[in-house]
């Protein structure tokens, strides 16, 4: 399964693929989603002060392991958010955290 996950720039290797557009501080697009990163483009991102990017990663866990991990994390989040389930902003935050932890599924 492929997922998109946020990574600090120093942990990204040449050959990896951007999962989302890389934007600078003012929102200008530096590189488009789907770009395969090279040493040169990574250096460019660093020069532009980018600290992290979204990368497409192949999930190495088996389907079963992934499911267990997902369930554990979902339970943890649900426990943490148990008193604010009805608040739309908190629902959005919960989704944000889930996507960050588990990676957005790439369809």
């Amino acid at each position: 399964m492929k997922t998109i996950c946020e990574q600090p720039l120093d942990q990204v290797r040449p050959g990896e693929t951007l999962g989302r557009d890389a934007l600078d501080a003012t929102g200008n697009r530096l590189l488009a989603a789907g770009t395969e990163l090279s040493t040169k483009t990574l250096a460019l991102l660093q020069r532009r002060g980018i600290k992290g990017v979204a990368i497409v990663r192949e999930n190495k866990l088996s389907g079963e392991q992934t499911e267990t991990l997902q369930q554990t994390f979902e339970q943890q989040l649900e426990l943490r958010f148990r008193k604010v389930q009805d608040d739309p902003s908190m629902q959005r935050l919960q989704t944000l955290l889930r996507d960050y932890r588990l990676g957005e599924s790439v369809t």
């Binding site: 990574q7 600090p8 992290g52 935050l93 919960q94 955290l97």
Partner: protein, 310 residues
């Protein structure tokens, strides 16, 4: 360094003449030492920060201090020196080589950064990780450091001072620790209420005491003469909307919530306060900023080990 034995736990609360036995909210509590009436006086009686920490901060605030004098002063306290070097070598500052001496640390960081580091190190040294009944200081500090790191990352997004941000985040819950250490009997009642009601620690404090750790923390920060921006952030981190012009309160508010979501340490309960989205947007943070902040926070926090003592 010892743990609890350094702190004179006040067991017999001094009774004010003619004072009602429970001048807090009364309904949910009995025989409290800490009430709205006694708060100011009780805080004034708390121990000062170590002499050396106080002297270093005072020297810096006088404004004309020589770096070498400052470094000699810090060097008199071994634990403080070790902590300062630990912070200097944390990933915040990104120095490519290990900084092994105070002299180098001072030259590379400058007085403003040094002031924040001494303050943070001094307060952490005042409450070393130890066992309090039902309150784990190590997890408390892990949450505090994580929140400091997160506040710093968010400040970077907003173009605000990152040093002040770190200190504000680190110290935002100091009132909880003060209550746990110096007013353990009162705090036990708060924890019992929290467990009974399954509520946020601050709501339990409000119910039992009639005020919460943000007020206690702000009063202690005043007693220790911390900078105004940090006092305000401590006092308002749960209701940043009431102080539209104190961005650090908002940054700490958001940072605290993110660290709870990332399960960094333990801030005293297992719940989520509600995010004040309006306040968050007013300081220039949006959902996209939060998303990009998460990996930065975790990466920076993983490399930041301020608690271990050499």
């Amino acid at each position: 360094m010892s743990t609890n034995s350094t702190f004179p736990l006040q067991t017999a609360p001094p009774q004010e003449e003619g004072q009602a036995p429970s001048p807090g909210t009364g309904e949910n509590s009995a025989g409290l030492q800490l009430t709205l009436v006694t708060l100011e006086k009780e805080i004034q009686q708390l121990p000062a920060l170590s002499v050396i920490v106080s002297e270093v901060l005072a020297l810096i605030d006088r404004g004309d201090v020589e770096l070498t004098v400052l470094m000699q002063k810090i060097g008199q306290d071994q634990a403080l020196t070790a902590r300062v070097l630990r912070v200097v070598n944390s990933p915040f500052y990104g120095f490519s080589r290990h900084i092994g001496s105070l002299k180098d640390a001072g030259m590379m960081l400058g007085v403003h950064t040094l002031r924040n580091i001494v303050m943070a190190a001094g307060i952490m040294g005042h409450f070393p990780p130890g066992e309090d009944r039902d309150f784990d200081r190590l997890s408390f500090w892990q949450h505090a450091i994580g929140t400091g790191v997160a506040t710093r990352v968010l400040a970077g997004h907003c173009g605000l001072d990152e040093e002040t941000a770190f200190s504000a985040g680190l110290l935002h819950d100091i009132g909880k620790l003060v209550m746990a250490v110096y007013f353990p009997a009162d705090f036990d009642q708060v924890l019992a209420w929290r467990d009974e009601q399954d509520c946020l620690l601050k709501d339990a404090e409000q119910a039992v005491l009639g005020f919460d750790h943000s007020l206690v923390g702000a009063r202690v920060a005043q007693k220790w003469k911390l900078p105004e921006a940090i006092i305000e952030a401590i006092q308002h981190h749960h209701v940043p909307d009431s102080v539209a012009d104190i961005p650090f309160a908002t940054l700490v508010h958001v940072a605290d919530i993110l660290c709870r979501g990332l399960e960094i340490g333990h801030g005293g309960d297992t719940l989520m306060p509600t995010l004040d989205v309006a306040a968050m947007q007013r300081v220039g943070l949006d959902w996209e900023a939060l998303r990009t902040a998460l990996p930065e926070i975790e990466a920076l926090n993983t490399g930041t080990n301020l608690m271990a003592i050499e």
